[in-house]
Symmetry: C2
Subunit: 878 residues, 2 copies
């Protein structure tokens, strides 16, 4: 653990160097890190165990009774503390507090800005300076703080959580540092008054809370170390995040399910509901205790009439809002991606921004706040209202355009901001929508912790209000014909618009539920549902969701969803997309094969087959396991042992004439040596060899003639030349830590020869961890089913077998390609040239064997690459 | 398909014979049927294909241009019709119509009863007769009609849908007959005014609609034949069922997910929402068009005040409602099960009821309607109100117990029913709750289509009202202290109680959402959520849900959920629960082994391993496949071929002296014969053998001496004696349909000898369908993970392998046992005696091999049972 420190710092530095982290291929990185983390975890648990053993030894002297009692008490406490519901209550409580504190701080920040702006009303220029400087400072601080402390805290967090819940371990995403960076960065970012949201980051913060709480609780022992349990808790945490952000427990659970999961375990349902309800409850109770509210009610309470919320004939208008929101949502996602890609592509801009990484946030903030400056352009777009205030006014149940003339209405409170002496309220609304639209798309690209849900929600509400006001102007007395007059309620349209646009951007239906919980009224349920579904239908057919778009931009390892009309997916088979050229090792292979396989590929796991002829799949082995096998075989300890043995044999050869009886004893010693290298203290000390011109390791077989020409960098560093090709990262440390007292008298040539000999030995898989049941598919499995299985089980790759014989492998990459290929080129099957030929074959068994032989021949004839793979050299350079 | 008719009728008769179908082990039955159905489906699709080929041949003569045009138009139509959304719209429309018509008919039925009761107010006895006879007749008709037409329509349908969505095919559950029986039966049952609900049956009806619609749409071709698509559509249909029943689209989707699924694919989410929204919309629009409503609003609209729905200090009362509802819900489930089990156990009652199957419904109805007779006991429990009316009154926003004295309040409309001159309103409510509680539990055991949701909902509302009225009486001026007086709203308590009790009975959280959508108000969201979660916590720890309880009663094949506190599940491994004594066949086995394996076990699939020594799992083969292999080897055609060959050989032997050159030609013929049995028309006609005393088939090896003592039933039926043991159901038909012109001159002894010889041949697996990648687990897989994988993938069984070697098998049964065992005996690990020994072992490979050998030895030494298994004999007797 301690050894990782410098490593981490280096990585962090490297991360900070890149603008917004967009240039890094996080996928590969995350996978490699996942393997490392898991290993270090194992190492730690071993250390823990030995420590407890020591403690037990120490305590043996104490009185036994007392100890038993303590242990029992401890066990009872643990069994209580270990219950899920305690964890969930703690999580809910914590998150409610965080949410409330963040909201409180944001409110203070915004008030401070208003106060400053209000105090300087004598001088417009000073006023402008105050209005602009304040957000620029806050955003710059937020960006800088996050960059320095934890660059992982940047952005929404939902895409990352989606990836983590898929089973991929993202490094540093769930640490305390990230938590601090996210909370403080978010508070500052939202306090600046920029069009940013707190909902995405809150999902991340809740997950961070859950992970940290889990770590804390695991101090009490118990079940907190179980991996699948942690995933369940993270899923609940996502629900809590949304729930305590909007005080919307049901909507929060549903939204988090829709956004983060592909398959949802219904048995986890109660966890989400329980934690989110508790959290929302505490969040609202805090408001009551703080005298903000009289009792627990909705966050943005509306007061629409209950008896006749809308007329049946208004439904077409609601449908129009839905369809328009669908297009708008797709446009927003597209615009957001376009901005990121534009900045990335323009090399000059990119280079400049990479150097001055705080300049971009500052510039964007300056632009946005200049345009919203109330005495300036802001007067035409209600610029002086904060996000919350504009939402409250937009959901107002009074009609602004009474009698078609906006001016006649008596605006009270914040609604006055929408009134302009020269300009119609419709113009104000249109300007607000258009300006906020691109501002939000731009603002969400700033590298600070921020979400896009709330800005989009407000824009949607404004759009709904616009349609509603138009309807009210068109039908001043309502549409209903018989009896009483029911005027049109533009506030209801705003609710519908908000749900529809946010649903379109996030590709979720549950925004409808969030809207009901936010407003505390469910009377518009059918219009809202219709609009949300229509918006989703339009948006999903045009663009990926905002979160999927970010996943693609950040290149996170994730499996795309199957599209809406996925008929053709039923026709593509695994055999059409699988990689037939599988890297594998056989049960009776020698270390040389192992070495070659490790050199040529860089897959995380390798298939183990019985023999190359039968190709019967026996299991899969992790790359790390094979590397350790190889390092055991070629490592310095083993070589030293060999030297010792050779010396002993020489000794014996000399002494065999004088004392033939000691033969079996020397054998015994050599036997002992084989297993007790560290305790052995033999003191053969031959003269240190003069550094010769070393040979290039034997395994670079392509150029035997080149050998004598190279010069070694250091004479000490000769522990396992062949291994060097595999372990680019610090193999020295390992080599040096064992007994240095034993002198290594072998020349480089001898070492190379010895290695050659070692490599020809057969591999002993006894101490190797083999996964005996890797996931297997059949060639005829459809793409649809493969996708389902991959997303259900969170697989990374699966072997394709035919009656036990390995014939191919499918990894996430192939699957992703196949799905994306067939999504863009609709109806075109993704089939290799051979596929149609394969279909025409009658029986399967013959085809398979011939193909297997082909595969095998290809394998054998393939020339081995001379250098290690690019990905490894990348790692080296880091 | 036509051949199944008599079979089906026989089965139906058999089903009708059993009272309530409770005595039948549906699980085994369903599995066998599933295999049969699938096979027949395949057969049909082959027939379809040949038909289209014929059509193409026929059309060749027509003008090509016209045909191409037609085909294109057709394709376009199909591609349009094939879209999911068309299907979902049709489904929604259909279900909305069905729901509305059913509601309309029920309302008419109930009005008719009231009218009859009202018209006879001169004579109490006549009034009583009318009050009682009407429901008895309706219920008896409903029970009789369902029994005759489709006994599968009885009951709720949710347990069956849960099983079907798990991947099990239940016979006859999704046919048109069942649809008719369910709709008409449900209408009559609910029209009788008994405390029954329509929500469970509507889930079933919607699924029926979806299945029938799917069948209808598949006439247009396209993707409607895909199995996984059908499952997706059924899931959406369940949502539609609930959605159009309560006009609650969101709650419907959530409820159907919670009730029917274990893992939910989020990509199906929109389907449910789309269809349910459309359905609910049409359902409510029908009401508007029918002038029942002015516009689209909630079904049971409430009018609670919005500004101050409840005080923070009222929350403990809501929590009390939740906890009490939890106990109540568990009690309801227990009571319901107790009644069923009591009737089943009491042999005398059971026998009597089996004979007079309409007596039980009539008796129960008589009892219930007698007790609710308004001038009788009904006056103390608002007996004259229908279910709907009582719910409306219970959700009323006025306080009944104003100033603590019930009499002073002016009851208007239906609320008058709760007023009794002598008795307090509290007493009325308590009596209502108690009486309705056992009545509902009893009524839901009647074999008519009915659900229990609505009665429970009403009881919950009454309980909530009771608590609310008590609170109102306790705090006449409300609890809120500062400023304005906010009196307590007992209607809000009723809402909370309804959600809590129905949530407790069904183990769902989404009843909360249903309540909001039913009442059209979401102001009580936090109390409702808290109460529902508490009720769930209590109920889930005491009893299974009502649907799971019915699944257990009916013995449907289903995997129970992991309990709430499932810590111990992380510690149980697959090795502790798996069956080590796996039935398997080897790649080089002979037919005798096949026969033995088929005789001894009755698993649906068998493992195929490489050799008995290596035990490397190659795949799994379905039982039916093996049976057909065996029947090919031992069947009559092969024997006839043998006879032919023998005759040819004899002929050749005779002619070999006269013409030795014809030898290779006769070989050619015999080669042809081997592959062209049906077209061959050789006319060897030896004399028909005189029926001798036959030998018992060779394979009953245990008693060789017994052989000559048995007498055959018919001399004709000698096609494959050994096969008889396997194919108890009509093997005759198969044997007789092929060429009867070839005479069978073999004696029974010869046949037995021939069979013996045939059985010693090695099995040729070439034409056998092998599943090359059956699902595999590792011994160390935890029970938790196994459960997840089983429910995710809908598995029936999984093989346990260790480095490719088969060491055990886990089926649903073992899993169910392990889960239920560890649920009841909490904390006790389900481990065989060997498990602890196994854990102490160091390396895995050695242990495994020794255990494998043990397993193998056990296998070899095991004596084979003499008769076929009981399950097969059961099948025979059907």
């Amino acid at each position: 653990m301690a050894g990782d420190g410098s490593d981490q710092r280096a990585l962090q530095y490297e991360q900070t160097l890149m603008y917004g982290r967009y240039t890094q291929d996080l996928g590969v990185y995350a996978k490699e890190e996942a393997a490392r983390l898991r290993e270090s975890g194992q190492r730690r648990s071993v250390a823990d165990r030995s420590r407890t053993l020591d403690l037990l030894e120490y305590e043996k002297g104490r009185c036994a009774k007392c100890r038993i009692c303590t242990v029992r008490c401890q066990k009872f406490l643990i069994s209580r503390v270990g219950e899920d519901w305690i964890f969930l209550i703690l999580l809910g409580l914590l998150m409610a507090l965080v949410s409330w504190v963040v909201d409180f701080c944001i409110a203070i920040c915004l008030q401070a800005q208003k106060w400053m702006y209000g105090g300087l009303d004598s001088n417009v220029f000073l006023q402008y300076l105050a209005w602009v400087t304040y957000p620029v400072v806050l955003i710059t601080f937020s960006a800088g703080f996050t960059q320095i402390l934890a660059p992982q805290a940047v952005g929404s967090g939902i895409p990352e959580m989606k990836t983590i819940l898929r089973g991929v371990v993202l490094k540093e995403y769930l640490t305390f540092k990230t938590f601090v960076a996210k909370v403080i960065g978010l508070t500052c970012a939202l306090g600046s008054g920029m069009p940013l949201g707190k909902e995405g980051p809150f999902v991340h913060i809740a997950s961070l809370c859950a992970a940290l709480l889990s770590k804390f609780m695991s101090l009490f022992g118990g079940i907190y170390e179980n991996e699948s349990r942690n995933i369940e808790m993270l899923a609940a945490a996502c629900a809590v995040g949304v729930g305590c952000c909007f005080a919307a427990p049901i909507g929060g659970v549903l939204f988090s399910i829709e956004v983060t999961s592909t398959f949802f375990a219904v048995r986890n349902y109660w966890r989400g509901f329980f934690a989110a309800t508790f959290s929302a409850f505490i969040f609202r109770v805090l408001a009551v205790w703080n005298r903000d509210e009289e009792t627990i009610t909705a966050l943005f309470k509306t007061r629409f009439r209950l008896d006749f919320p809308f007329d049946l004939q208004e439904l077409p208008a609601f449908a129009v809002i839905g369809i328009a929101s669908g297009f708008g949502g797709a446009l927003f996602v597209y615009l957001n991606r376009l901005i990121v890609q534009f900045i990335r592509k323009q090399k000059a801009i990119n280079k400049f921004l990479m150097k001055k990484r705080l300049l971009y946030p500052a510039l964007v903030t300056l632009l946005v706040s200049t345009l919203t400056f109330p005495p300036g352009f802001g007067q035409f777009m209600a610029g002086k209202l904060t996000q919350k205030e504009s939402l409250v006014t937009l959901l107002d149940n009074r009609t602004w355009a009474k009698q078609g003339i906006a001016e006649e209405f008596d605006y009270i409170g914040h609604s006055q901001a929408w009134k302009h002496p020269q300009v119609n309220v419709f113009v104000t609304l249109v300007l607000f929508i258009v300006m906020k639209f691109w501002m939000s798309a731009l603002a969400t690209t700033i590298p600070v912790p921020c979400g896009a849900f709330m800005p989009v929600f407000v824009i949607g509400a404004a759009f709904g209000r616009l349609v509603g006001e138009s309807m009210a102007a068109w039908f001043p007395d309502g549409i209903h014909t018989d009896g009483t007059i029911y005027p049109i309620v533009p506030g209801g349209y705003a609710v519908v618009g908000a749900a529809a646009l946010s649903g379109a951007v996030t590709h979720t239906v549950s925004t409808a539920v969030i809207v009901f919980e936010l407003t505390g009224q469910i009377s518009h349920i059918l219009p809202v549902m219709i609009a949300v579904i229509l918006a989703n239908a339009v948006a999903q057919s045009l663009q990926p969701s905002l979160y999927d778009s970010i996943i693609r931009i950040k290149k996170l390892p994730y499996l795309p969803e199957l599209g809406w009309g996925h008929h053709e997916k039923y026709n593509i088979r695994v055999e059409d997309i699988m990689v037939r050229d599988v890297r594998y090792i056989t049960l009776n292979c020698c270390y040389r094969d192992l070495h070659n396989v490790l050199l040529t590929g860089h897959l995380k796991t390798l298939a183990l087959v019985e023999t190359a002829e039968s190709m019967i799949l026996l299991g899969s082995i992790e790359r790390a396991q094979l590397q350790s096998l190889l390092s055991q075989q070629l490592g310095r300890p083993r070589r030293l042992e060999y030297i010792r043995e050779r010396a002993a044999a020489e000794k014996k050869l000399m002494s065999v004439v004088s004392n033939p009886g000691s033969e079996d004893e020397s054998q015994r010693i050599s036997q002992e040596v084989r297993f007790q290298i560290s305790t052995d203290e033999s003191s053969f000390s031959p003269t240190r060899p003069v550094p010769q011109k070393p040979l290039k390791p034997a395994l670079k077989r392509s150029s035997v003639v080149e050998r004598p020409t190279e010069i070694p960098n250091s004479p000490v560093d000769n522990s396992g030349i062949a291994l060097k090709n595999l372990f680019c990262a610090s193999p020295d440390a390992e080599g040096l830590e064992d007994d240095a007292d034993l002198e290594d008298d072998m020349t480089i040539r001898e070492i190379a020869e010895w290695e050659e000999k070692q490599l020809d030995e057969q591999v002993n898989f006894n101490n190797c961890k083999i996964d005996p049941a890797p996931f297997q598919l059949v060639e005829r499995t459809s793409l649809h089913k493969t996708h389902t299985i991959f997303s259900l089980l969170g697989l990374d790759h699966a072997y394709v077998t035919s009656i036990g014989r390995l014939i191919g492998v499918v990894s996430l990459k192939e699957l992703r390609k196949a799905i994306e290929g067939s999504v863009t080129v609709k109806g075109v099957k993704v089939r290799p040239p051979l596929a149609s030929f394969r279909d025409s074959g009658t029986s399967s068994s013959e085809n398979e064997t011939t193909e297997l032989h082909k595969l095998w021949d290809r394998h054998k004839s393939m020339s081995l690459p001379r250098e290690h793979t690019p990905s490894e050299s990348d790692e080296k350079s880091q």
